[in-house]
Symmetry: C2
Subunit: 243 residues, 2 copies
Amino acid sequence: MPQQTQPHGDAPTRLAVSTVIFALRPDHSGRPVLWTPLVRRTREPQLGLWALPGGWLPPNEELEAAAARTLRLTTGLAPKYLEQLYTFGEVDRSPGVRVVSVVYWALVQSDEAARAVAGPNVRWVPADTLPGLAFDHNRIVEYALWRLRTKVEYAWIAHAFLGDAFTLAELREVVEAVLQRPLDPANFRRTMLASGRLHETGERLAGARHRPPKLYRYDSSALAAVVPEPTAHTEPMRERPAS
Amino acid sequence: MPQQTQPHGDAPTRLAVSTVIFALRPDHSGRPVLWTPLVRRTREPQLGLWALPGGWLPPNEELEAAAARTLRLTTGLAPKYLEQLYTFGEVDRSPGVRVVSVVYWALVQSDEAARAVAGPNVRWVPADTLPGLAFDHNRIVEYALWRLRTKVEYAWIAHAFLGDAFTLAELREVVEAVLQRPLDPANFRRTMLASGRLHETGERLAGARHRPPKLYRYDSSALAAVVPEPTAHTEPMRERPAS
DNA sequence: TCAAAAGTGTTGTCACTACACCCATGG
DNA sequence: CCATGGGTGTAGTGACAACACTTTTGA
């Protein structure tokens, strides 16, 4: 046996599923920023600390389903995007028992998130300025944030924060909020349209005191998937063309 | 409870670690192609079928350590690159018990791989033409192959197949073997040198009947890491510059 | 008629491709 | 001296950034 110490003896390793949930909400100045819901731990260890939503994996539930259920229980919402992030399993990440956590990350629609349930044991916080969380959860959220930001640059996840139809300005606002930097409206428009994943609805959004912008819909059937994840909620696995 | 059926009742979910191991070996025509070691299952279920190296996670062993140990046991080698791939946990992926597998993928040095141990229960096969494997292992290897090929295009993993010092032609041969397509030597050279991750050793490789090529070393300290994986064997996690 | 955002045109830069060409070595 | 790869030069292309400019609306 390679290991010197036996901190957990022969106690069985437990398997948990946690989810990092992101939504866009206006901050105090009114600009949208990333928020994430946390739950207060109601038992030892780390009682009272804030932690990622999650729980033990039921023997007959799929990993992704467990993540979606957790999300629904804490926020009352359904994910528009859900993907496995990473599995964290350091021997000492939880005192007492060995816990291996399969972590998912999810995006929920912003306007729905505004109506999300909360309570004394559920609290939404800005994802970039987290308090000290239980276990290694700070590190987990940081990694999820990195993944989201990387993915938003080459993929089309941004639409998951929006409703069915949206303007290019709305989409750009979302990407800007995630990346925390302004984008050139003209270039953004062209890049998006060139991707072939946006579909004109034919309608426009009137009411503002300027030229009414066109409304677009995300076209999931267009082109091939960039990343054939083994499992992905909004982008089902697809075959790449044979070489 | 969301699930209708209870195929596993209250039997505890078991946690396994498996590893997809890649090495380059010459095929029958002498050109290097990707090979991977498999182990024969010596017990039910799926007795006799070939499967990925792996086993149950010991309570006091790190996930990555378990993957490395598995690799050593089946091949006698140490990985030059080791990274978590994905966690597979479908309820029905193994008959009988619920098994969740944390899968790693690894690269081993080609000349070492040539001396790898084998036996009646360990067999190396070309990674692109696998036989029918146990469980969902075919799908897992396919996903690992995709990851390797994607990563080789923007990262510098290729050097993990080689020894300490290597020529640009050797490195290019590796990348060509992984991607299964020829690359322009001139452009490959420039791209690699421009990356700043190669370091001249000052020596040359003489003996061939042509101009002796320079030898390079991989410089892990150069520049920032592209992907801050939570855990990575050859590329430790690094912070990105603050924006 | 004017502010404000939608939307278009144009130019420069940079990375990458294709391919012509010169260089150094062993036989 | 010549075949063989090592190594350099250079023109073309396409993606993207920067930014000037025109268009359409509501007040």
